[in-house]
Structure formats: structure tokens, C-alpha cells
């Protein structure tokens, strides 16, 4: 990729210039690819076109067919939108897990933060005040009503801030301890959203009451916040009832996500992530600022979930803390693993396939089976049985995923590691969550590095 090696200018202007250059280079690249790998390029082009036109095909043709002739296991608009929402999250989690090699089991927290950002700033929830800005909501209507294009950067900011907050204390941790801390964080955040519904709190210093809260309902409690303003531009809505428009909006968000993630992967930061993933100690010795690098991985990865959460909330028009369970974190992780850890296209495909299985195929199967044998367990209730088996089987037989990144495939397969070691004649640090494999652990311990980053 010539565009990747070119010096990128600083600031937004430089970035825009870079994007324009990259866009201008696309036809040339495409011609090259068509010449070199004809079959693959044509197949991928067709796949891309299908993805772009599928919502319309469904809307014009498949939906009616499925409704009137015979039920088909085809994804509907809601499923398509959720494919893309989870696609955005999978791309974001891939930054943390795939690029930087930090196992995050609490990713759902950032999804929740994004959703509640949208809920706080675009709903009648805070009815005692009225702030209406650039919104289609009538001025003077109770609550805060900001338009979605303002919510989105706020969600990014909130999620990224909390990502960095989570990242900060976990910098010293490695491997499975890090995984558990992130899991705990992912469990705590929804608890807060669930419980902060009746806050009574007074803070007094020297007889002067500084803060006095009486039964403040911050988060709507277990019921959540409902309704949330839909996103409307020029009379076109992007909510759950607006059909194809929302799918294309989600697609636009996903494409932006892909571009951002691809550029990050190939940036200086992306190479730093690769370095700390491969061997944190060595990376630090080479001058990589591990603190900054890890914090940025957490913050940037989290911001994707923030976008997904804000969009999900405005799409559904409601949010409750029950959406944000540990199983959602794991679902996104399975998408990343199934698709191919480290590979943006792989994880996107993983998200699409898994949401398809979860929201269309199993429900369709359940209806088919239910019409024949009503007593048979409904497969859509046992989706996580299937996903659990999938995880175990994938780890056993194909840990690198179905569309792996080449580099990660070599790292993750025991075989590939041995080959790599023999070929290079060195002991390769292969550990993706930076806990050393057998043998390497002893080396690490003996190294006795002065850095306290190594203590744990």
C-alpha cells in the first residue's frame, strides 16, 4: 500500500488530504488487483455489491416473498442494523484484543455508556429542565434534546474517557488478571445504571450544604430510559421503524469505522500495538511508550462501542441496563475470534454471521421445529449453548478464526509457532495476552527487569 508508507500530514487537514489521496488511489489499486488476482477480486466485488444492495433487495422483494409465499431465513432490517451495530463493536474490540493483545471481557460497559449518553441527552428523561438544540423536537419540550450528530461525538468522548479510566489501573496487569479486571468493570457499569434511580445524597461542610439530592432519578433504574429521540435529518428518520434508511446509516457508520481502524492499524500507533502484543518488554526497550499505547488502545477501542451504543439507543428509542450483560461482551468476543482475531474484515464477517445466527437463523429454525414438534426445545433460547460450543471448538481446532490475519495465525497456532521458531532460530514470544507460554515464563522471570511493569 503506497498510501500507508507516505508521510501523513498532521492535523485534520492532513488526515483529510490523506483520505483524498487514498480515495484517488483506489481505481489504480483495483486495476492492479483485477490483473493479479482476478477470481478473488471479482468475487469480493460481487460480495461488496451484494452487501450494499441487500437492504433494497430485501425491502423490495425478499420481505414480501418471506411473508406471503414461504418463510425464509433471511435477515430483516432490524437484524441487518444489529449486524452492523455489532460489526462496529467487533471492529472496536478487535483494536483492543486483536491489535494490542489485551483481552477485554467487559467491553459491554462502553456499549452501555454510549447508549446512556444518547438516552441522557436526547430524551424527555430530565423533565425538570428543557434544552432543545438543533433538534426536530419542539422547543420548550421537557428534557435535553440534542441531535444525534452531536450525541455521537459525545458518546465517543464518554466511552473513550472511561476506556482510559479502565486502562489506567490495569496497565501493570497482564494476561488473565487483566481479563478479570475488565470483566469486573463490565459488570459494575450496568449495576450503576440499574441502581442509580433514587439517589438521595447530601454533602455538608461546616453547616453549609454543598450538594443536596433528593430522590434523583438519574438512570431510570431497571426500567431504563424510554423514549429516546430518533435521529431525523431533513424529514428522513433513522429509527427502528424507518426500515432501510437506518440500515444504510449503520452501514455508513461501519464503513467509517473500518476506515478508521485500518488507518490505525497501519499507523505508528498500530505498529506500537503490534509490538506490545508480541513482547511488551522488548517493545518498551525499543522506545515504545507502553502506557500511552495501551491507554489509547483501550480508549479507541471503547469509542467504537460508544458509537454503537449511542446508535443502538437512538435506533431502538429505549435503553435499559438489561441490554448490557456479560454475555454481550462474550458475544462480541466470539465475533472477533470466529472471524479472525486481528483482521478487520474477518471480525466484521464474524459479527454479521453471528448476528444472523442469533437473530434470524435460530428463530426461523425454532419456528420450523415448533410447528412440527412443539415440545422440542426452541433453539433460539439456547443460542449461547451453540456459541459456547463454537468457542471451545474454535479454540481447539482453529484458534486463529476463519478469516485470520496472517500474522496472528502464525502466533496462535502451536504449529505455526514451532515453524516460526525453527525458521527464525529464536524463541518467539507468541503470547497474545502477553502472558508467556511455558518456557518463556522462566526467561521472563530470570530477566529481572528493573521496570515494575514486569512484576505481575
Amino acid at each position: 500500500m503506497s498510501s500507508a508508507t507516505k508521510q501523513v500530514g498532521s492535523g485534520i487537514g492532513g488526515w483529510v488530504g490523506h483520505m483524498v489521496d487514498a480515495a484517488a488511489a483506489i481505481p489504480g489499486h483495483y486495476g492492479n488487483l483485477l490483473a493479479k488476482r482476478r477470481g478473488r477480486t471479482i468475487a469480493l466485488t460481487l460480495l461488496g455489491l451484494l452487501a450494499l444492495t441487500y437492504p433494497l433487495i430485501y425491502n423490495q422483494f425478499l420481505a414480501g416473498l418471506s411473508r406471503n409465499v414461504f418463510p425464509l431465513p433471511v435477515p430483516d432490517e432490524t437484524t441487518m442494523t444489529f449486524m452492523l451495530i455489532f460489526g462496529i463493536m467487533a471492529i472496536g474490540l478487535n483494536i483492543v484484543v486483536g491489535f494490542a493483545g489485551l483481552l477485554d471481557l467487559g467491553y459491554v460497559a462502553f456499549y452501555a455508556l454510549g447508549a446512556y449518553t444518547a438516552a441522557f441527552f436526547a430524551s424527555p428523561h430530565f423533565g425538570s429542565i428543557s434544552i432543545v438544540l438543533f433538534s426536530n423536537v419542539v422547543s420548550g419540550f421537557p428534557g435535553i434534546h440534542l441531535p444525534f450528530w452531536m450525541i455521537l461525538p459525545m458518546a465517543v468522548l464518554v466511552a473513550a474517557t472511561f476506556g482510559a479510566l479502565l486502562g489506567a489501573p490495569t496497565l501493570r496487569l497482564r494476561g488473565d488478571y487483566l481479563a478479570i479486571v475488565t470483566l469486573g468493570f463490565g459488570e459494575i457499569v450496568p449495576v450503576f445504571f440499574k441502581n442509580l434511580a433514587a439517589i438521595t445524597f447530601t454533602f455538608t461542610i461546616g453547616g453549609v450544604t454543598l450538594i443536596s439530592l433528593q430522590d434523583v432519578n438519574l438512570t431510570g433504574g431497571p426500567l431504563g430510559i424510554n423514549p429516546i429521540d430518533p435521529f431525523v435529518i431533513l424529514g428522513v428518520g433513522f429509527g427502528a421503524t424507518s426500515g432501510v434508511a437506518a440500515v444504510y446509516f449503520a452501514m455508513a457508520l461501519t464503513i467509517i469505522g473500518i476506515i478508521v481502524a485500518r488507518n490505525l492499524e497501519r499507523s505508528r500507533m498500530g505498529r506500537a500495538w503490534g509490538a506490545i502484543r508480541e513482547d511488551e518488554t522488548a517493545a518498551e526497550m525499543m522506545g515504545v511508550n507502553t502506557v500511552r499505547t495501551k491507554l489509547l488502545a483501550f480508549a479507541l477501542g471503547a469509542s467504537f462501542a460508544g458509537v454503537a451504543g449511542a446508535f443502538q439507543a437512538s435506533y431502538l428509542g429505549a435503553t435499559t441496563s438489561d441490554f448490557f450483560q456479560f454475555s454481550t461482551s462474550i458475544l462480541v468476543l466470539i465475533m472477533v475470534i470466529l472471524g479472525g482475531i486481528g483482521n478487520i474484515w474477518g471480525v466484521l464477517a464474524g459479527a454479521i454471521v453471528l448476528v444472523y445466527i442469533d437473530k434470524t437463523l435460530l428463530i426461523w429454525l425454532g419456528q420450523r421445529i415448533g410447528s412440527v414438534a412443539p415440545d422440542f426445545p426452541n433453539p433460539s433460547q439456547f443460542n449461547f449453548l451453540i456459541f459456547g460450543i463454537l468457542l471451545v471448538v474454535m479454540m481447539r481446532f482453529r484458534p486463529e478464526g476463519f478469516i485470520p490475519s496472517r500474522q496472528r495465525a502464525a502466533e496462535l497456532s502451536v504449529h505455526g509457532l514451532e515453524e516460526a521458531e525453527t525458521a527464525m532460530g529464536v524463541d518467539v514470544e507468541t503470547d497474545n495476552v502477553s502472558v508467556a507460554p511455558p518456557g518463556q515464563a522462566e526467561l521472563d522471570r530470570e530477566a529481572e527487569l528493573p521496570s515494575d511493569l514486569d512484576d505481575l
Binding site: 478479570i180 433460547q381 512484576d455
Partner: protein, 328 residues
């Protein structure tokens, strides 16, 4: 040790003054019983982590399946009630304990064979993810077998207060709580004896320290790991029986929260350290009971996770653990 005793004594004085003696001691009784059940499960986490450095995510769900099996035996199959003759009751409980422990031990060993053993040489992410997958599989097996609702049995011990024999009425210790101690404490002693004095226990400790060297010294590492899972599974099964007889209810997703509580206990005590796991479990049982009683049940989980995060971040060796400090 001395510091611990002083801290505990101060806690007692503070608690009695602050909460009032009756409420304080009652909460302590509940905390102690909870803590003993946590201890059985926490030992499973700590044994496995000690030997193969794996957070056995599925362990809480093995415990859940144990409690399901015990529910099935005590409830529908033997139909034990509070009126069952005492000798028969004891016999059935022993039988249920045996069957459940064997069942969960066999289950845990099979899980190890299927999900972890093939990944022995893979990067550490792989078995952890495999364990998470296994956890979901077991949860759904529970859901498939028992359905989505709570599964409840009758309280087979009655509600008599043991302390009323001594003329104390303000604090209640019922037979269920005594039962928890009667089952749990001997198991803890047997485990401690097994690990510290038997040949197999020595092999376990050797493997925990260094599997490669232990193998060179003639320890059958695979067999030792399998036995570790066997013991962990049996303890989880016992915990399942105790929990159904103590709380009288179980549910398919019980294992997740209970497992994380127990894991927190193991980490609090110092993961890999058996005494630490028991100590951590008791502390965590107290924290749970006091939070439920004097703070809010809604926040207990957040509190437990907050503690877990705080320990992992600030004192990852836990209260007693030093041995495995460099493992994580």
C-alpha cells in the same frame, strides 16, 4: 497472623458498637455460612489456577450443575421433607453428597479432557476462552435440563434455633447453618491433609511449582492435573449439595455470580494458596452478608467486583499468597 487477629477483634468491637450486638452477630452467622460455601468453590479455582494457571471459568457452572443434581435427588427422587426420620435423612444426605461429588468430579475431569488438555501448549488466551465457552455450555445444559425458573426444595431441617438451648433468643443459628459447617469443615481438613501429606498431594505441589521439572522427576503431570480437576469438581459438588440444602433453591445461572464471588475470594486470599482461599471466602462471605444487611443487595455485586478489581490492581498477591506472585 497477629495483625489478622487484631483486625478481627477490632471488627467485632466496632460491629457491636455500630450495628448493635444482635444484628451484628446474626449477620456474622450468615456471613460465616455463606463463606464456608464460597470456600468449597474458591478452593476449586485456586487448585486449578495453582496447577495450570487457568481461571477455570466453567467452575461456577460445575457447582451449579452439582446443586441441580442435588435438587433432583433430594426433591423429586427421594422426596425428603422435614418429617423424614432423622437416620434416613442423614443416610440420604450422605448418599446425595456422594453421588453429586462423584458426578461433578467426573464432569470436571471430562471438561478438562475436552476443553483444556488439548490446549496445554497453546497461548494462555486459548484455554481461558475455551473455559468461557464451556461455562456457557454448562449454563445452557442446566437451562435445558431444569428450565428457566428457580428450582426449590422444602427446608428439610426445620427452623429451630440451636442457640435457644442455651437460652439465647436474639441471634439465630439454625440447623441448616450447622449442617453447612458439619459438611464443609471436615472436607477442608481432608483436602489440607491430602495436599500436604500424601504422595499425590506432593505431586500436585510439585506440578504447581514447575510442571516441566516435576515431569522430569517422574511425576505424571497429566494424571496430576486430572486429579486436581477431580478434587476441584468433587468440592464443587459438595458445595452444590450444601447450597441447595442451605438456601433451598437453585437456578441455571447461579454459577456465574457465585463463581465470580468465589473467584474473588480465591484472589483475595492469594490465588494458588489453599488457606488463602478459605480465608478469602470467609471474608467475602462476611462482606456479602454485611452489604446485603446494612447497605443494599442491589450494590453487593458491584462492591464484590470493586474489591476484586482493587485487589488485582493494588495487591495481586492477595492476603496470604506469595508463592504464585510472578505467575500472572
Amino acid at each position: 497472623m497477629v495483625r489478622g487477629i487484631i483486625a478481627f477483634a477490632l471488627f467485632q468491637v466496632f460491629g457491636v458498637v455500630f450495628f448493635g450486638a444482635e444484628q451484628f452477630f446474626q449477620t456474622e452467622v450468615i456471613g460465616f455460612s455463606n463463606g464456608l460455601i464460597f470456600a468449597l468453590v474458591a478452593l476449586g479455582y485456586t487448585l486449578v489456577y495453582g496447577i495450570i494457571e487457568l481461571i477455570n471459568f466453567a467452575h461456577g457452572d460445575v457447582f451449579m450443575l452439582g446443586s441441580m443434581l442435588a435438587f433432583l435427588l433430594i426433591g423429586p427422587i427421594f422426596a425428603v421433607t422435614v418429617d423424614t426420620p432423622v437416620l434416613l435423612k442423614v443416610g440420604i444426605i450422605l448418599l446425595v453428597l456422594g453421588v453429586t461429588m462423584i458426578g461433578t468430579a467426573a464432569l470436571n475431569v471430562s471438561i478438562e479432557r475436552v476443553a483444556y488438555k488439548p490446549l496445554r501448549n497453546a497461548p494462555k488466551l486459548a484455554p481461558l476462552i475455551s473455559a468461557i465457552g464451556m461455562s456457557f455450555v454448562l449454563q445452557n445444559v442446566g437451562l435445558l435440563l431444569a428450565g428457566p425458573g428457580n428450582k426449590s426444595i422444602d427446608n428439610i431441617f426445620g427452623t429451630a434455633n440451636i442457640l435457644s438451648v442455651f437460652g439465647i433468643e436474639g441471634v439465630t443459628i439454625n440447623i441448616q447453618q450447622v449442617f453447612v459447617a458439619i459438611v464443609t469443615i471436615p472436607l477442608l481438613i481432608v483436602l489440607s491433609w491430602f495436599v500436604s501429606t500424601t504422595r499425590q498431594g506432593k505431586a500436585m505441589r510439585a506440578t504447581a511449582q514447575d510442571p516441566d521439572t516435576a515431569g522430569l522427576m517422574g511425576v505424571d503431570v497429566n494424571r496430576t492435573i486430572a486429579i486436581t480437576f477431580l478434587i476441584a469438581g468433587a468440592l464443587a459438588g459438595a458445595a452444590g449439595v450444601v447450597q441447595i440444602l442451605y438456601n433451598n433453591t437453585t437456578v441455571w445461572n447461579l454459577g456465574f455470580r457465585f463463581g465470580l464471588n468465589s473467584f474473588t475470594a480465591a484472589v483475595l486470599g492469594g490465588i494458588g494458596n489453599l488457606q488463602g482461599a478459605v480465608l478469602g471466602a470467609l471474608v467475602l462471605g462476611f462482606i456479602n452478608a454485611f452489604s446485603d444487611r446494612f447497605f443494599s443487595t442491589n450494590w453487593t455485586n458491584a462492591l464484590v467486583f470493586g474489591i476484586l478489581i482493587a485487589i488485582l490492581v493494588f495487591k495481586p498477591t492477595g492476603l496470604l499468597g506469595q508463592q504464585l506472585a510472578d505467575r500472572a
